[in-house]
Amino acid sequence: MQLIDCPWCGPREEVEFHYGGQAHVDYPAKPAELTDEQWARFVFFRDNPKGPFAERWNHSVGCRRWFNAVRDTHTYQFLAVYKIGENRPEIPGART
């Protein structure tokens, strides 16, 4: 079982966390002006890279807070964790 480093609580076991998918998907600034195509992209379309991926995690049975992480989807290794609102750390090869 892998340890995940919650930015508030420190390393905890993977079972304490809930996965939230791709990070940094911004809510549309002017929702009323979106085309169907743009809505579909916001609601359904996500990246699916093999390699570093910025994603959201929730420490659901700990502090219950959301945070972001860059994790390699090939090795499953966490390359960085950071708080919501902070910029994604520079990691070579990361797309999002």
Binding site: D36, A40, N48, F53, T73
Partner: protein
């Protein structure tokens, strides 16, 4: 009584040729799993198209085809899903003759358990929908469930008691490797080149997506460039990495999906039992292993392994439902990488490139569709017309809102 497995056929001494790739083909199929091989077979058999290459980055059918738990059924909820899976099931019923090769298709039936009042309502609804679509289905009360599967714990005092089950008698299992080899041998005999150790790395393209003139003129592979008339993407969990090369985005998300087998046991489990609510499904293989699976690991991944706690939960559910399994030893576990969509249905059909078809997103359930999908994709390649069974699964359904939300039957299991 013959011991379990004694009736397994010997391995044939000849499988297929191992040709060098030619510099050009009419059709290039990317991915030598069940779907790619079935498409190749029906291209030759139904349409006489044989200037075809199937390109496989590893060894033939070593991806999810080699890793899946081989459950075959067609009791899906929606008309669109029932149509393609039932088409496939009918083909399964004649596949051994068609391929001239044993596939050990065993129609032992599937029980999909209901553990809550909502499960019961959903299940009964699905049974009625199945009947309207000509799919065999029944709703069974716990006593009748126990008659079909006597080792199942139907007592009322377990955490999630069995409140009943849907039953599809024509469902079954088949020997996955033999299925792949049967398709491969037939395609090879027809002159189609099956090329292993040949990874597609990218594409040569012309035109532009913006004005609708985009085409692929060839594929770039680890064994050189290969020109092609048409391309069919059948790379299962890895399809979106190829679509990234073409700058085509989709909702596809790849996840590890794990399975495991026990040591060999005497025949104890006569059917297939699935439970979405407590996350386990079990059948007994021809040789005697209990074959078990659960839901996908939650995170995106390409590592072909998953987390241990998923296995723990699945074993806990299995032992509660089947107390007799408590002393069985786990022999091996593994994972494949499956691609999922928000509506739990595949994406099959056209892409922004006029001569590229996509077939992906079968998630946890694409083994059972193998012959049906191959049939329909071959038809589409040969005629240029989307086969009616795959037409509802086009990529643009995420924009038009015509989703085929199949969670009701697909759930997290199969």
């Amino acid at each position: 009584m013959t011991p379990p497995g004694a009736d397994l056929p010997e391995h044939p001494d000849f499988l297929w040729r191992n040709p060098e790739p030619k510099r050009s083909y009419d059709v290039v199929i990317i991915g030598g799993g069940g779907h790619g091989l079935a498409t190749a077979h029906y291209l030759a058999k139904n349409h006489g198209i044989t200037n075809v290459a199937v390109l496989e980055k590893g060894w033939l059918a070593g991806g999810n085809m080699a890793r899946n738990t081989t459950l075959i059924r067609s009791n899906y909820l929606w008309d669109e899903s029932a149509a393609i899976y039932e088409h496939a099931l009918k083909l399964w019923e004649g596949l051994e003759d068609d391929l001239g090769y044993p596939i050990l298709f065993s129609q032992r039936g599937v029980l999909n358990l209901a553990h809550t009042e909502q499960d019961v309502r959903d299940s009964v609804r699905r049974v009625e929908a199945n009947k309207l679509n000509g799919v065999d289905a029944e709703w069974l009360e716990p006593d009748d469930v126990a008659k079909i599967c006597p080792i199942l714990n139907v007592s009322e005092d377990i955490r999630y008691p069995v409140l009943g089950a849907t039953y599809q008698p024509r469902a079954g299992i088949a020997k996955h490797d033999y299925v792949a080899w049967g398709f491969a041998r037939r395609a090879d005999e027809a002159g189609i080149d099956l090329i292993q150790d040949c990874e597609v790395l990218g594409f040569r393209t012309e035109g532009s997506q913006a004005d609708g003139t985009a085409r692929v003129t060839g594929v770039r592979t680890s064994r050189g460039d290969i020109a092609c008339g048409q391309v069919a993407l059948c790379a299962a969990g890895h399809t979106s990495t190829l679509l990234d090369e073409l700058e085509v985005s989709t909702p596809l998300q790849s996840h590890p999906l794990q399975a495991l087998v026990s040591e060999l046991l005497e025949p104890v489990h006569p059917t297939i039992v699935m439970s979405n609510a407590v996350h386990v499904y079990v059948s007994q293989a021809h040789k005697g292993e209990l074959v078990m699976g659960a839901g996908v690991d939650s995170y995106n991944g390409y590592g072909q392994r998953g987390a241990f706690h998923i296995i723990e939960r699945q074993m806990a559910a299995a032992v509660e439902l089947f107390p007799v399994f408590a002393r069985a030893h786990l022999l091996r576990s593994w994972a494949g990488i499956v691609d999922t969509n928000p509506d739990a249905s595949p994406i099959v059909g056209r892409t922004p490139y006029a001569n590229v078809l996509v077939n992906a997103g079968w998630g946890t359930g694409g083994f059972k569709s193998t012959p049906g999908l191959g049939w329909c994709l071959a038809h589409t390649i040969a005629t240029g017309e989307l086969h009616p069974y795959i037409a509802p699964f086009s990529l643009d359904r995420f924009v038009t809102g015509a989703l085929v939300d199949e969670h009701g039957a697909a759930g997290v299991a199969h």
